[in-house]
């Protein structure tokens, strides 16, 4: 099973980290392998996921949306998980792991604030000190989430270096970890970073796909034909895809953020437009210029606005296990509206990309196809932003 001993998925992944972090990463790998197998850890995490986070989330047959599209669509309702997105699956796992490793402090990066809120939540529950790094621009854009994190007892550090967004928040969190690793665990929010992070985050998010598998068999008596999910760093999509990896008849479709269009410089479509390289500790596709400097991305959805992507997705792309496409901001907004109007579900702008893509590409599917879409988060966080864009506020 991948990754291999060096943390590689084929040629991707690895551990491109400063020497100071090699020890802590080796320790994390060893401790994760040991602790995650213990009865105590499994029992505690299962309990929290069920009683605290509200799992399993439902696999909802979207009847109206299915009729609209002309084939069967199920929504994996991660928007119903506590704190409103799939992020909690990972943060409960990692904060619990950190606690059992004897750490007293956790740090996290956040873009829009979803992962920051989920980390702050798990830290409040498990009584850990929590510091969240957030780009100055995002702090300004996401005041409400900043306040939510403060309510939960987290300290927010506004990052003023570089582009002052998510990638710089990750840089700053890594620098904190390089300095404080003895007491501190770094809770990375996606399937990115140096080994073992892409594996750990994938494993904790795999609950999405494992539940889906059981649920769809119960409802349909067979596996789905397609799994569709949005891809930024790639944690909700990999969480859904991974448990189906060996079910070769189940096709994976990842949807990236096309921003203002792939022909412009303003998008976040790393797998489609990036080149191979190293960002934040792993070898993957990266949006970069000819000299290897990292590009500034754009997406209407902060959760997809990132110039890198998880190495396992890069591997899925090159081995053709998954297909990746992108839709522009406009199509994402279309998806946002359609699902709200016909299912009464306001999706987050991230999965709205997947919804929008399905709407635009419905003719590619057959009548008896079964499609599962990961509805990775609810849209409340985006309502204000969309209202502004559409001139309602």
């Amino acid at each position: 099973m991948l990754p291999d001993r060096k943390g590689k998925f084929g040629i991707f992944g690895g551990r491109f980290a400063p020497e100071t972090l090699i020890g802590p990463l080796e320790e994390l790998e060893k401790e994760y392998k040991r602790i995650s197998k213990t009865k105590e850890f499994k029992r505690e995490l299962n309990y929290l996921l069920k009683e605290y986070a509200g799992r399993p989330t439902s696999l909802y047959f979207a009847k109206n949306f299915s009729e609209y599209l002309g084939f069967k669509v199920y929504l994996k309702r991660e928007d119903l998980a506590f704190t409103g997105a799939h992020k909690i699956n990972n943060t409960l796992g990692q904060v619990l792991l950190a606690k059992m490793m004897g750490k007293t402090r956790v740090i996290a990066e956040t873009g829009a604030g979803q992962h920051g809120v989920a980390t702050a939540t798990a830290s409040a529950l498990l009584n850990m000190e929590c510091v969240v790094y957030m780009g100055e621009i995002d702090v300004e854009r996401q005041k409400l989430n900043v306040y939510r994190m403060k309510l939960l007892g987290a300290q927010i550090i506004s990052v003023t270096s570089g582009s002052r967004t998510l990638k710089d928040a990750i840089n700053e969190a890594m620098r904190d970890w390089i300095t404080n690793f003895k007491t501190t665990h770094y809770v990375i929010g996606s399937v990115v970073g140096p080994h073992p992070y892409p594996m750990i985050v994938r494993d904790f998010q795999s609950i999405i796909g494992k539940e889906t598998k059981k649920q769809i068999i119960k409802k349909e008596g067979r596996l789905p034909d397609y799994l569709v999910a949005c891809v930024g760093g790639g944690s909700n999509s990999l969480g859904l895809f991974y448990p189906f990896y060996n079910n070769r008849d189940v096709k994976f479709i990842g949807i990236e953020a096309g921003g203002y269009g792939l022909e412009t410089e303003k998008h976040a479509s790393t797998l489609l437009k990036g080149e191979k390289g190293v960002l934040h500790g792993s070898f993957s596709y990266v949006l970069q210029d000819n000299y290897g400097q990292i590009k500034i991305t754009h997406s209407i959805s902060a959760g997809l606005d990132y110039p890198g992507v998880g190495p396992e997705h890069a591997f899925y792309k090159d081995t053709k296990r998954a297909d990746y496409f992108a839709v522009n901001d406009e199509i994402a907004l279309k998806g946002f509206h359609i699902l709200s109007e016909i299912e009464g579900i306001i999706p987050a702008l991230e999965p709205a990309h997947a919804i929008g893509w399905l709407v635009e590409n419905k003719e590619k599917f057959r009548k008896d196809d079964i499609v599962v879409v990961c509805l990775s988060g609810r849209g409340d966080k985006d309502v204000m932003e969309v209202a502004k864009i559409e001139g309602e506020l």
């Binding site: 551990r15 400063p18 090699i22 710089d168 890594m174 620098r175 390289g277 934040h280 290897g292």
Partner: protein, 260 residues
């Protein structure tokens, strides 16, 4: 023997320790950075590290982040850095290395990057986010061209790993004296010297300590255990503050301290 190895031999004979200085290429501007490097060599620097700026330098503190991003804003890129190195080739006669992150090297093409280094007189590479396990290919390419890849050790590197790295290390060992990113600190951590002593007993090649070094007091404490010290952020801050003349005095002062 590479130029770096020769330099350390020569210093050993004179019973001196190496003063290694880091400058960001293109900061505050292309020509000013050349002038500052030339001046530093005149005043006694033994080896120069030329920082090839990267947009996301995770091992660096605020000072080098700032100088790197300013240099990039000024339009510096990898080709400009080679141009700068080529000018230095005719101007200074001490070894100089490139310090950068892996992505700019990979994107340029590893072999192409190294070949341009040879052309421009660059004696070695320091790549903080390229760990030993990932460096096989580049070490091989460098070896064929008589250049060194400088490996890092820290107080937290396990003994097993230390042995593996030391067995393959060339040029000198870059010892990171603190847990943290680059940037001046007032003092040294307690166990730093103990670990340095242990490393010195294990290696045959020179050891240079860097990260956090900013004063004569620290140099005085550490010099017995190393063959060189590396200073970056502290000097760059002087450039940011436009106190270039203070740099010259500091170099003279540091170098004096490094003569045994």
């Amino acid at each position: 023997m590479t130029k770096i190895e020769k330099k350390f031999k020569e210093l050993e004979k004179k019973k001196e320790k190496a003063l290694i200085l880091y400058f960001t290429a293109g900061f505050p501007s292309f020509y000013e950075s050349i002038e500052i490097i030339k001046k530093s060599v005149e005043k006694g620097a033994d080896i120069i590290e030329i920082g090839v700026p990267f947009s996301d330098p995770i091992a660096d503190g605020p000072i080098i982040q700032y100088t790197s991003s300013k240099a990039l804003e000024n339009g510096i890129n990898t080709d400009e850095c080679f141009k700068l190195a080529k000018i230095l080739k005719n101007e200074i006669n001490i070894p100089y290395l490139f310090m950068t992150y892996f992505n700019p090297v990979y994107r340029y093409g590893i072999t192409r990057f190294v070949e341009r280094c040879v052309e421009c007189g660059v004696s070695g590479l320091i790549i903080p986010d390229l760990p030993f396990e990932e460096s096989y290919e580049i070490r091989k390419i460098l070896k064929e061209r008589n250049m060194n890849l400088i490996n890092f050790l820290t107080p937290f590197t396990s003994e097993k790993r230390m042995r593996k790295i030391i067995r393959n290390a060339k040029g000198f060992i870059y010892f990171i004296s603190i847990a943290g990113v680059t940037g001046p600190r007032k003092d040294l951590e307690e166990d730093t010297l103990t670990i340095l002593k242990k490393i010195k007993s294990m290696v045959k090649i020179p050891v240079a300590a860097g990260f956090g070094i900013s004063n004569v007091n620290q140099i005085n404490k550490i010099k017995k255990y190393v063959d060189g010290i590396i200073i970056g952020s502290f000097i760059l801050q002087k450039i940011i503050d436009k106190k270039i003349e203070e740099i010259e005095e500091l170099i003279v002062e540091f170098k004096k301290e490094l003569k045994v």
